[in-house]
């Protein structure tokens, strides 16, 4: 006899998932399709067992592959910005692609999907952060900082700083200095 079946794939996967998780006595909540929040921290052993069990059903644990990668990208960018080597903007894409081991196109799309912001913006964010730290140390002039961060001119640097924060570098310095003075007075 021929039976006609209708599959609710989501329900099936969910059920399988629940069973396997219950077997391992894990405390969990299913977030949505393809995401499970494990509330306690399972050991790697346990995760490995889980993965193996699920594999039999054709389900594999993708180890938050995207977020890990994004984190790697972020780390790579931070490293690049904070190194003393001066990389021109053209070379960053090459640098990152090499560092991550994927093409730049893939990396940048992935990054935008996950973080809702572009790599270029993130680089600027990190550069400005570093600039803020350098300003705070009071050891370098604005011109020196601009050069250190590979900007072609002080105007270019001031411009980007202002676009990112709404303040000029010297205004920023003024505010932080005044904050320090206030804290010292209150201390």
């Amino acid at each position: 006899m021929k039976l006609y079946l209708k599959f609710d794939i989501n329900a099936v996967c969910k059920k399988v998932l629940q069973e396997q998780l219950d077997n391992l006595d894990l405390n969990y909540s299913i977030q949505g399709f393809g995401e499970v929040e494990i509330n306690n921290s399972p050991s790697n052993e346990m995760l490995k067992t889980l993965n193996e069990n699920l594999n039999r059903y054709g389900i594999s644990v993708v180890e938050s592959h995207k977020s890990v990668l994004v984190q790697k990208i972020k780390d790579a960018i931070v490293e690049m910005v904070y190194s003393d080597e001066k990389l021109s903007n053209a070379k960053t894409s090459v640098y990152l692609a090499e560092k991550i081991g994927q093409s730049y196109g893939y990396i940048s799309n992935l990054f935008s999907d996950v973080t809702y912001t572009s790599i270029a913006n993130f680089i600027i964010l990190q550069k400005i952060e570093r600039a803020k730290q350098l300003i705070l140390t009071n050891e370098l002039t604005i011109t020196e900082i601009a050069w250190k961060l590979s900007y072609s001119s002080v105007a270019h640097f001031s411009n980007q700083f202002k676009n990112a924060t709404g303040l000029t570098p010297s205004a920023f310095q003024r505010i932080i200095d005044k904050r320090k003075n206030m804290q010292q007075k209150n201390a």
């Binding site: 002080v154 105007a155 270019h156 640097f157 001031s158 411009n159 202002k162 000029t168 010297s170």
Partner: protein, 596 residues
């Protein structure tokens, strides 16, 4: 000038007097000496003559003796003997006289002694010859002749001796004559000198006294005139003078001092008590303070106090005093009282009016600020709601509807820009902001950063001198730089990268008409010059007026408030701003800040 003062100095006079005295004494001494000398030499001369004469007489007497002896020898007449004896007496007398005459002269005394001896010898011979030989009748002719001859020899010797003495006297005479001649010259000479010098001194004294008398008279005249004009000046100028002899505690008031107090001149005896009665009760302590100072021989400070006249009129006095010593060595305080009532009242009313104006200004500025600030809110709501409606309902609008909405938005935008500018302008008025030491280099740097986008876009170059640190409100100066440099960036020659120079130099107020001060005060002159499109110099003052523009809004957006804000900021800092430009070449804006 120095020489003249030398002549009139009393020290000089005294020394001349003493010198003259010495010279007179000196000359008199000489004169006296020479007079005595004259008398002496005359006496000596006479003496020499006397001796000479006496010697001649002796000679003659001795001759007489010889003659008488010879006569007796020849005639044996006793008459000759008598004469002989008389002559011998004469001789003895002469000798005697000569003795006393030559007593002062050793040589002649010796000579006379020898002479006397010789004469004695002669007489002895004579005795032998005459008494002895003549009395014996047979005269021993031979012995007689011998004694005659002896006698002659002795006589010759005597004569020689006498001649020697005479010669000596002659020599003396020459000497003494010389001396006498000398003295007869010098004595009148010195008398003459004495006379002339005395005459000179008299004449000099006369002229001096005369001159001094004249100059005293003149000074006296000037003094009299000065005193008179002073009196009048006091009346006209509304001031008076007074004197206080501190040691004897007597006061002297000028006539006008009485008049200033509202009474007739000399109508009361001046004293501290009498004066204090006129002084406003609240100000009396000022007078007593001054009095204390004076009593302790300290110079009193300038005093400012009120007096009340007998008719109730209040006058404001300014009083000053200095110490002098008068001829008796008393300390006198010379004082001036100035009736400054008019000035005081005028300046007070000016002060009050100033306060009124300042208050009114503050209120206006405050109103301006509040108005622009409070107008922002409803305008913002209007614009936001319009944009919401537009966004949601634009599809359903007719083309006219859309058009109207666009117009509303445009109008609202214009209003917003205007209010923003008014707010910006009103903020510049808030001068209660604290002035502090502002490093212009830092402020320029901040301004450049604010304009970073435009600088980058237009590829502009900005060069600057090292700028000073001035006493200023930092944010306002930063705004000043932003506006000026922003203008230079905005109004560049199309397609030519702006090149902006900021220079600084120190100048003197008198050299720049705009500063309107004829003093040597120093100012910083900061020039912002560019290579932009420039403007016609005739507009160089108009551009600083509120909302004045030289361009269309479509060509170059802006409201024309930037430069008037610059002017307000510069004036807040007690400075000035001016513009110079050549169309097509560039513009220079010069800002003057006083160096404090």
């Amino acid at each position: 000038m120095k020489l003249k003062s030398l002549f009139t100095s009393s020290f000089f006079l005294k020394s001349i007097f003493i010198a003259s005295l010495f010279i007179l004494i000196f000359i008199s001494t000489f004169l006296y000496k020479h007079s005595i000398g004259l008398i002496d030499s005359a006496e000596l001369l006479v003496h020499t003559h006397k001796v000479h004469l006496e010697l001649e007489q002796l000679n003659s007497a001795l001759k007489d003796v010889e003659i008488n002896q010879t006569g007796y020898f020849i005639s044996r007449d006793t008459i000759f003997l008598k004469s002989f004896r008389e002559s011998r007496e004469k001789v003895a007398k002469s000798i005697h006289t000569l003795n006393s005459l030559v007593d002062d002269n050793l040589t002649q005394r010796n000579n006379l002694d020898s002479l006397q001896k010789l004469i004695t010898l002669r007489y002895n011979i004579l005795f032998e010859n005459s008494i002895n030989l003549t009395d014996s009748i047979p005269m021993n002719a031979r012995r007689f002749n011998k004694s005659l001859v002896e006698g002659k020899i002795v006589m010759t010797t005597i004569r020689d001796q006498i001649n020697k003495m005479i010669d000596l006297e002659k020599i003396y005479m020459v000497e003494r004559q010389e001396r006498y001649d000398n003295e007869t010259f010098f004595t009148p000479f010195y008398s003459m000198m004495l006379l002339l010098f005395s005459l000179l001194v008299f004449v000099f004294s006369y002229f001096k006294i005369n001159k001094d008398l004249e100059s005293f008279k003149k000074s006296n005249d000037i003094l009299t005139i000065a005193t008179e004009s002073m009196k009048h000046a006091e009346e006209i100028g509304g001031f008076s003078s007074w004197q206080w002899d501190v040691d004897s505690n007597t006061f002297t008031y000028s006539d006008n001092q009485y008049r200033l107090l509202g009474v007739e001149p000399q109508s009361f005896v001046p004293s501290m008590e009498a004066f204090i009665k006129f002084v406003h009760p609240e100000d009396r302590h000022i007078i007593t303070n001054g009095e204390d100072h004076v009593v302790n021989h300290q110079r009193p400070n300038a005093a400012f106090f009120r007096i009340i006249r007998n008719d109730g009129n209040i006058r404001y006095f300014r009083s000053m005093g200095v110490f002098l010593n008068n001829a008796e060595g008393h300390k006198i305080l010379i004082g001036i009282n100035n009736d400054v009532t008019e000035e005081y009242l005028i300046s007070k009313s000016l002060e009050d009016r100033n306060h009124e104006l300042e208050k009114s200004n503050r209120e206006l500025a405050s109103f301006n600020h509040v108005a622009s600030h409070d107008l922002q809110e409803p305008l913002r709501k209007i614009q936001t709601f319009i944009s919401r409606i537009y966004e949601k309902e634009v599809e359903g609008l007719s083309p006219t509807g859309k058009e109207y909405f666009d117009k509303i938005q445009a109008a609202a935008n214009r209003m917003r820009i205007l209010i923003d500018d008014l707010l910006l302008f009103s903020r510049t008025n808030k001068v209660e902001k604290a002035f502090e030491a502002a490093d212009l280099n830092q402020l320029l740097e901040s301004a450049k950063q604010e304009l970073a986008q435009a600088i980058e876009e237009k590829n502009a170059t900005i060069k600057s001198d090292f700028l000073p640190t001035i006493h200023a409100i930092p944010f306002q100066i930063q705004q000043l730089f932003i506006n000026l440099i922003g203008n230079s960036l905005k109004y560049n020659k199309p397609d030519i990268a702006p090149v902006i120079k900021i220079e600084c130099e120190i100048i003197r107020a008198a050299d720049y008409a705009i500063l309107n001060k004829n003093t040597n005060e120093a100012f910083y002159k900061i020039s912002v010059s560019d290579n932009g499109m420039g403007f016609e110099q005739k507009y160089s003052e108009a551009i600083f007026t509120l909302f004045h523009r030289l361009h269309n809004n479509s060509d170059y957006p802006g409201t024309g408030i930037g430069l008037s804000i610059c002017k307000k900021i510069v004036e807040n800092h007690h400075g000035r701003i001016m513009a110079e430009s050549i169309p097509g070449i560039g513009s220079t804006f010069s800002i003057f800040f006083p160096i404090k």
